[in-house]
Symmetry: C2
């Protein structure tokens, strides 16, 4: 397999973008990524796109044909992949495999979701299709509810507190203040989280990532092309992907996302790195409890210790291992299909030294993108 | 890139399978393919699945996690791709790239759709999301209508007759008589087609493929594994994939599917074959006009000559180039995501010499899978 680098990045502002449609968001992110790479449209050989549900959110499937068409490509191969909230991370991985295989030399990887057009009830219904419809959603389980079960058990088993959960949200909102593309630029306190409306005990509104529109895109290139085209290539050193039971109740252990453990193992092995060697990570914090589970399953902290670890500041910028310097899904926003690609963009900005005030001075970075309640996990390790 | 072979095949009966759900169909096809390959579940390293719209047909996304879970896999990487009606062909191609890259050695590729649970109106609405929702479907265009436009123009420009269109359906129904998995086992005449209800002038009910439930799966292996595990490997000699405008009205030429021309060119080049060297083909005959356009765009007959060519029997089994010996989408059935994989199964059966009465005595075979009205096209060439 050939070496692969990221040579361009582009994204839209994340937020409730009422005036924008999925196509215009995708075009903006794609054009910015191609421009950032210093290449031309004709240099792009293949497209990979991650989106969760064009069918349910905007009544449009076949985006693999529609988006290159609207972007002015002619006859380019274009692949849409879907893995619920891990669609973007999976698109990145499939493009990585494509370039590594020798099939193509330059790929654009995009992630996008336009969620806000259909109203909250329909959005919640659409998101619930990432869980087991027959055995979970049809019985009333929503994603806040599923993650609340994990949070409750973590609190029961490891004495994790609601304040420790809240400290994830507080940190990520603080980080997002310095990210111009983030949905929220609002500093919050532990008390703000504790006082926010309870949505599924023990999770409150400010424990949850928001509903977001947005798109993100990156340009991947083979080693030869990357060295020719870029002064600041960021290399993909490891890629891992695994699945787990789609239903929470089928897991051996509710508090271990075995898909994350497995995907991380693959990525660490390929990169020849261990958790202790990782300088920073963007992890899948769709709920505050998800970030706590992630940093445990990725090996940054022992199982059960993540609440205290976070509360004591070890995951802040400047801490032992900065987690979600971008603001994470929690504060940067979570346009489902785009989130995994946006994580890669943050890794690239950090490794290029272009992260401004939220810089973590990192030599490498890990990204971690989860689908559903852990049914899919995709992990990548980047190095400059 | 490494050589890749098909070493196992499995499919369900195609039809309106009221008692079955998507999961049980997928499991049946997958288990049959793994058994046919003579391997065990633990030998399978990665799954690729094509399905058009779990969201709209069965209210379930994230099938990349759900299906391996229900099949008893643990932590296996599993990728769902979507390209409307070309989802199955695209899943095959992405798995091919994966094995060719060296990432994995053995993959199961599946295609599935469970269409009949939601009623005809909702099915038509779901299928319409493969066209441009804003600029085609919202103005009332359905797929019969879009293909009818192409048929009308072909008739006008090349004097193609309704009887010539009908001859595609008659041939494919005849072929399906010998395919035990086909949805229809019913011989029809030109007059039957002409007398059937008009659905979009000039297309009649018997010019159209049916609504179908079903699943198909194949096992791919790297050269080393294939030679070790199989006495009858069927090699993938060429793979091509391209897109076109999603909307019909944006095409330079309504009667050329440029995605097919481009995908075929890639596959022919890689296989070092020309159209005249191809022994048989399974092409995307969602409507009779689609088969005529396909055999022109694939280079088997000059543009405009396909109607006469078909009417005169050149595409029958035993003819110059047998087209759709399986019965095609028209008579075998068209469970959207499964169709591209089922085409590969027919190629394998034919090349192994296991096609029974519908044998074409072929040394190679081409498969051609289209998404929407031509927005995506995927072409593969197989050789024994």
């Amino acid at each position: 397999m050939r070496k692969v680098a990221v040579i361009g990045i582009g994204m839209t502002k994340f937020g409730q973008l009422w005036k924008r449609d999925l196509t215009s968001l995708s075009v903006e992110a794609g054009v910015n990524a191609v421009r950032d790479a210093g290449i031309h449209q004709k240099d792009v050989e293949v497209l990979y796109g991650g989106t969760m549900s064009g069918g349910l959110f905007i009544n449009q499937e076949h985006l693999g044909s529609m988006l290159p068409d609207y972007m002015g490509f002619k006859n380019i191969p274009s692949v849409r992949v879907e893995a619920a909230c891990a669609s973007g991370g999976l698109a990145l991985r499939q493009a990585y495999i494509d370039i590594a295989s020798g099939m193509h030399d330059i790929a654009v990887v995009g992630g996008v979701e336009k969620m806000t057009d259909i109203g909250t009830y329909s959005i919640t219904k659409a998101l619930a299709t990432a869980a087991d419809t027959v055995n979970e959603s049809n019985f009333g389980a929503t994603f806040p509810g599923l993650y609340a079960l994990m949070a409750k058990l973590h609190m029961h088993k490891y004495k994790t507190t609601e304040e420790q959960l809240a400290s994830v949200a507080v940190k990520n909102h603080l980080n997002a203040l310095d990210n111009p593309n983030a949905q929220f630029h609002k500093k919050i306190s532990i008390q703000d989280v504790m006082d926010s409306a309870k949505i599924a005990d023990p999770l409150k509104l400010l424990d949850a990532s928001p509903i977001t529109d947005g798109a993100a895109a990156i340009v991947l290139a083979s080693e030869k092309k990357a060295k020719k085209l870029s002064d600041t290539p960021v290399w993909i050193k490891g890629s891992g992907h695994a699945t787990d039971t789609i239903s929470l109740h089928d897991r051996d252990d509710l508090l271990t996302l075995s898909a994350t453990v497995s995907a991380a193992k693959q990525a660490y092995l390929q990169a020849r790195l261990q958790p202790k060697n990782i300088d920073m990570a963007e992890v899948h914090d769709c709920f505050t409890i998800a970030e706590l589970l992630a940093i445990e399953d990725l090996g940054f902290v022992k199982k059960g210790k993540s609440g205290k670890f976070t509360e004591e500041g070890y995951t802040k910028i400047g801490g032992k291992i900065p987690i979600n310097p971008s603001g994470g899904l929690k504060a940067k926003g979570h346009p489902i299909g785009a989130s995994g690609v946006a994580q890669a963009i943050e890794a690239v900005l950090q490794l290029r030294g272009d992260a401004g005030k939220r810089s973590t001075n990192s030599e490498n970075a890990l990204t971690h993108n989860v689908g559903g309640s852990g049914g899919t996990s995709v992990v990548h390790i980047f190095e400059r």
